[in-house]
């Protein structure tokens, strides 16, 4: 049990960029201009502008109900802005793109499909091989034929991550995917996502309510407040990042101030 959760290959120390577990995908870039969105007269996003560079790891933090999920769902093509536009790789986003995939707070696995069947949900050509490779990348290849019901919360999220990897996404959107996990599992998942991001080179946008997580993982932290980006803070710390460094603590303090502001 512990052996699968604490898989040694999931440590970021050995995450040399040359060691590719999954094929590289061309990272996506995003440009949002003048985004407005309201639900029933309640404005959630108002005049939001944002550029996200290829292969960057961006975190979005904000209080509950500030519209983080709405923004992320807009990047996925699940919501359309009332005004303004989202460009993905220079083209306007209309509906769901094959290049974009998303992880949710709950794993959203099909209970009636095996772990393998879930990882290869889209059933493209050679899906079994691809799904097995992705499961290997998240350290779950030996659970391929089991039902999701017997997995722990962290393992379910890893299957969801494998499912996302099978798509070779240019853009991976993560909506508080570790929010429901215990601290240790959460730390494992963070390292795993960071390692896969470095190996496969997708662009990552992570919504989190955990400021330390945002600083530990991203190149850039955005604070969403009042429907706009209230703070856009680059995180220029070398990777792999040591835990609880003084530099990180200083950045976390800045972000917390902007959040509470």
């Amino acid at each position: 049990m512990l052996a699968t959760v604490m898989d040694p290959s999931v440590s970021f120390r050995d995450a040399a960029p040359a060691d590719h577990a999954v094929p590289v995908s061309p990272a996506a870039e995003l440009a949002l201009r003048g985004i407005h969105k309201s639900f029933g007269g309640r404005t959630v996003l108002s005049g939001l502008d944002l550029d996200i560079a290829r292969h960057s790891f961006v975190s979005i933090v904000g209080r509950s109900g500030e519209g983080k999920s709405t923004l992320l769902r807009m990047l996925a093509g699940l919501e359309t802005p009332d005004a303004g536009g989202v460009n993905l790789n220079g083209k306007p986003v209309r509906g769901l793109s094959p290049d974009v995939t998303m992880m949710f707070q709950d794993a959203r696995l099909l209970p009636w499909q095996t772990v393998l069947g879930n990882a290869g949900i889209a059933r493209g050509q050679g899906w079994r091989r691809e799904a097995l490779a992705a499961l290997a990348a998240v350290g779950l290849e030996d659970r391929a034929n089991e039902w999701p019901a017997v997995l722990s919360g962290g393992q379910k999220q890893r299957v969801a991550l494998a499912r996302a990897l099978v798509r070779h996404p240019g853009l991976l959107l993560l909506d508080e995917p570790f929010g429901a996990l215990d601290a240790l599992t959460r730390a494992d998942m963070q390292r795993l996502v960071e390692r896969l991001w470095r190996q496969t080179g997708f662009t990552a946008v992570l919504v989190t309510h955990d400021v330390a997580e945002a600083v530990a993982l991203s190149d850039r932290v955005l604070v969403l407040r009042g429907g706009r980006i209230a703070l856009d803070l680059p995180v220029d710390l070398p990777r792999p990042r040591p835990r609880a460094s003084a530099d990180a603590a200083a950045l976390e303090a800045t972000i917390l101030n902007a959040l509470l502001g």
Binding site: A76, L78, L96, P111, W112, A122
Partner: protein
Amino acid sequence: MSLSLSAPHGVALRWRFNAAPLLPWLVPAALILAWQIGSDAGWITRRTLPSPLSIANAIAALAWSGELFHHAAISLQRAVLGFVIGGTLGLGFGVLNGISPLASRLLDTTLQMLRTIPHLAIIPMVILWFGIGEGAKIFLVAAGVFFPMYLNTYHGVRMADAGLLEMGRVYRLSGWAVFWRVILPGAMPSVLLGVRYGLGIMWLTLIVAETISASAGIGYMTMNAREFLQTDVVLAGVLLYALLGKLSDVAAKVLERRCIAWHPSFAAQREG
């Protein structure tokens, strides 16, 4: 639970015997024994209730002459045909109304109204329409099975998990794939509940229909025996219905295990 009997000094005779599986059968066995004794002693008249042994004899005689299988086969055929027709229609309308708001608005109210009519109440009409042939019995069974299948399928499809449906959109599954891989398996526990209700109604309907009018089948066999005061044959028919009911219950359970093996209540067992 285990029962242990040992000789006073525990040397010569010492055997342990596991009584747990037999315990539930103790009361029925005692009742049957008392019944047989009561009949032999003449406390229970043959007219009221034939003895267990005479029922067993009647069953053996019916089996020997082939009559038993002839009537059972005819009843089973009616049951299966009626169930397949009513069940398929119920499943089809349940799915249709579950996934199409237009179909649901158009049809659901009508079906809910029809549901309030007890299907056995229309037996006189059914006999007028179909005569006393096979059609009448199959129609009644189908009508009885239709509603539990329809209601449970409709409910199961409507209750499809919104999170999983959204996941299906993100992964750009086709409408077909969403139906087969997301909606239908999710509705399966509910559909199977409909199957089990339907099976119960199926036998009940058939018993009533065959008793009222038939020229073959278990119900006919018992009604015919009643005319000749063959109470042992009547009870043999009752037992046969019970056996067939049990059989369909077992079939439903097997189906359930196969269709929802993924369900947490079953999935965990594979681990252990």
